[in-house]
């Protein structure tokens, strides 16, 4: 019974169907299946398969994003169950991410957030036009391992430096890694402002995040 259910779970991720994934998660809860096992034996193999197909060039970014949406839906059902049993879902780390103040560009940042979350991170997405103190406060509140910042304009890119300085002033800098990205952002800019990580795209960002945390 659970083997079949696990297979269906994996398939719901591969199909990128959040409704089916959530239904299957609820079925698992009703059947008394351990929610951690449902994630690890049911849904995660689906994510792994999509990831493999993507590396082979057989699947594309929309497949990954839809798999991510399905995974989120399943976890939203299962996480409260895990907590109720006194457990905790293992993640690779906690990321606070947002687009800097004065900049309303959303899509690249959201894509990075989705990919990090599919990749096993706990992600707090602060949205766009995020003031400097908000990054710092949220990082403190959730005990973030990584703060990620996006900017699409050369005029707003400078705010990335402000956030790094504010993290220093708040005494948090030694505890968090900083990642930056966005069309005008380059590796040399990242180095200049003292960021720890930089990636040109969302897939690369996951690899950088893992590397920064030694995972």
């Amino acid at each position: 019974m659970s083997d079949e259910l696990f297979q269906a779970m994996a398939q719901s991720i591969i199909d990128g169907d959040p409704d089916v994934a959530a239904d299957l998660a609820r079925k698992a809860v009703e059947a008394g299946i351990d929610p951690l096992e449902a994630i690890n034996k049911g849904f995660v193999p689906g994510v792994d398969y999509v990831g493999e197909q993507y590396s082979k060039g057989e699947m594309f970014l929309p497949d990954l994003v839809l798999a991510g949406e399905a995974m989120k839906a399943a976890i939203a059902v299962l996480e409260p169950e895990i907590a109720r049993k006194g457990g905790q879902r293992q993640t690779l780390g906690t990321v606070v991410i947002g687009t800097v103040e004065g900049d309303i560009h959303d899509i690249g940042k959201t894509l990075v957030a989705t990919m990090l979350s599919v990749g096993g991170f706990r992600v707090y997405d602060l949205g766009v036009d995020v003031p400097v103190p908000t990054f710092v406060e949220k990082a403190r509140e959730v005990n973030a391992d990584i703060v990620g910042m996006s900017a699409l304009l050369t005029t707003t890119m400078v705010r990335q430096r402000d956030v790094i300085e504010a993290l220093e002033d708040a005494g948090l800098r030694s505890r968090v890694k900083v990642m930056v990205g966005g069309a005008p952002v380059t590796r040399s800019w990242a180095q200049e402002i003292g960021a720890d990580g930089y990636s040109e795209d969302a897939i690369g960002a996951v690899a950088v995040a893992r590397q920064l945390l030694g995972k």
């Binding site: 993507y54 060039g57 594309f60 970014l61 929309p62 004065g102 309303i104 560009h105 899509i107 690249g108 894509l111 304009l153 050369t154 005029t155 707003t156 400078v158 069309a183 005008p184 380059t186 040399s188 800019w189 040109e200 795209d201 969302a202 897939i203």
Partner: protein
């Protein structure tokens, strides 16, 4: 003496990319989107304009839903024809539907140094030097601020870029780097100084604005407020959509056109509601995302189709178009750059897009290359020649000459040949030398383009801006 400007006119090639029925359906779908889904205008001033004209405005989400007739009536007030004025009137550009003009691309953040070959962050000096080279090139009809002056403070960067442009060219200047009402006011003052007063600026706008929408279905707050200031002063304002299939627009090309069209025409309508009769233009650089990274591709068959389709839409609304062509996704001036920039430019030209953007940038408009700039000019020159088509008349049928030469023989010694040979295209950067000559030197288009760019930069002196005017521009910037 101002340099001559090469523009395409009286085209002899034609392409029907969308039928009238296709255009009608795209237009109807666009109006339905604006009326039922809405477009986000995140500026209280823009929302006031919409509300005053009876659109449905949600102050929390800042989404505007406007009925089709409001959009259509507003767009009818836009002038179909006007002129982009140059510092030297001999270089004025009438946007009359019978000209295709090329600008420099913008706004890059890095540059391949012309002397060291090193890739580095762009500065104000780069803006000045690129504009000086562009002033020389006859294929470049107007200046788009080509790279970002990142050694100037963000608050006044866009203004320093304008000053550097006017100091190095007599051609029309268009900016896409004004993001706030404060900068807009200063830029109007600067433009009025160049034009010789506010009224003269309205008559002869030496500056125009290209402003980006925020797809899908949104606008940028600072941009909207800057546009309102510019439009009030008579500065032509265009809104550019860069919708990308699969990420900021549907994966299907028609769906992409609808989303981008809704962004552009809602913004143009808002300007007409605020300032009836203000000169505006449609601007577009749609693409398809890269399926692996989600990134902006800057080339590919979808882009080329959009390049031709957008002008059909702009014509339907009876406003000029500024079309993103060139702007290859390639990292270097190479095979990919040649293909992408040729096809995109051909497709945008064959439908007579009024303005093309633009020459010189690599990696999706991020890295400036003088080599690419000059090779892009050659691409335009090829298309320019193709657009003349094939003239068929007694002189060109050349029966007398054919009779004179007869079977065998050759046409080299014919006066008819000498009379018409200069109509044949002569390349600057194509290698037509004997094989052994190439083998001995192993140089190519990039080397020749680099050498020519250096020569222009070292020798060309544009008509200088009165130092008094320069000083006054500086004062305006310092007070901004």
């Amino acid at each position: 003496m101002p340099r001559p400007i090469k523009s395409i006119s009286d085209p002899r090639l034609k392409l029907e990319i969308l039928s009238p029925e296709d255009v009608r359906r795209i237009h109807q779908a666009t109006l339905e989107v604006i009326e039922t889904v809405g477009v986000r205008f995140p500026s209280p001033k823009a929302l006031d304009v919409w509300e005053a004209h009876g659109a449905q405005v949600d102050r929390n989400t800042m989404i505007v839903r406007a009925p089709g007739h409001l959009i259509e009536d507003a767009l009818k007030k836009a002038p179909p024809v006007y002129t982009l004025a140059a510092r030297d009137p001999a270089q004025d550009l009438p946007l009359d539907g019978n000209h295709v003009y090329v600008g420099t691309d913008g706004c890059g953040v890095q540059i391949i140094d012309l002397y060291t070959g090193e890739r580095r962050r762009s500065t104000l000096r780069d803006v000045a030097e690129i504009v000086r080279v562009a002033d020389y090139l006859e294929e470049v009809a107007f200046i788009w601020v080509p790279v970002s002056a990142q050694d100037r403070p963000p608050e006044t960067r866009g203004l320093y870029e304008l000053k550097a442009a006017w100091e190095n060219t007599t051609k029309h200047v268009q900016t896409e780097s004004i993001y706030s009402e404060r900068e807009a006011r200063a830029s109007v003052e600067m433009a009025a100084l160049i034009a010789g007063g506010r009224e003269e600026l309205r008559r002869r706008p030496v500056l125009s604005y290209a402003l980006c929408t925020a797809p899908p279905l949104g606008q940028d707050p600072g941009t909207l407020e800057a546009a309102l200031v510019a439009a009030e002063a008579g500065i032509p304002v265009g809104f550019m959509t860069m919708t990308s299939c699969g990420s900021t627009a549907p994966a299907t090309l028609a769906g992409n056109l609808v989303v981008g069209n809704a962004e552009v025409i809602s913004a143009l309508a808002m300007i007409q509601l605020a300032c009836p009769g203000a000169p505006v233009f449609y601007a577009a650089a749609q693409t398809a995302m890269d399926l692996r990274t989600g990134g902006y591709t800057g080339g590919g068959p979808e882009d080329f189709l959009f390049g031709a389709a957008s002008n059909v839409l702009a014509d339907f609304y009876n406003v000029p178009l500024s079309m993103g062509s060139f702007a290859t996704g390639a990292k270097e001036p190479n095979w990919q750059a040649g293909i992408e920039n040729s096809l995109s430019t051909f497709m945008a030209c064959v439908v007579m897009s009024d303005m093309l953007l633009g020459v010189g940038l690599l990696h999706g408009s991020r890295i400036w290359s003088y080599e690419q700039m000059l090779m892009d000019c050659e691409i335009f020159d090829i298309v320019y020649h193709m657009m003349k088509g094939i003239v068929v008349d007694d002189e060109t049928l050349a029966l007398d000459v054919i009779r004179a030469v007869g079977p065998g023989g050759n046409f080299l010694a014919q006066k008819h040949t000498r009379k018409h040979m200069r109509e044949l295209w002569v390349p600057k950067f194509m290698d037509r030398r004997p094989y052994e000559e190439w083998e001995a030197k192993r140089d190519d288009a990039r080397d020749w383009a680099r050498a020519m760019a250096r020569q222009i930069l070292e020798t060309h002196q544009p008509e200088p801006l009165d130092p008094q005017l320069s000083a006054e521009l500086e004062c305006i910037i310092e007070k901004a």
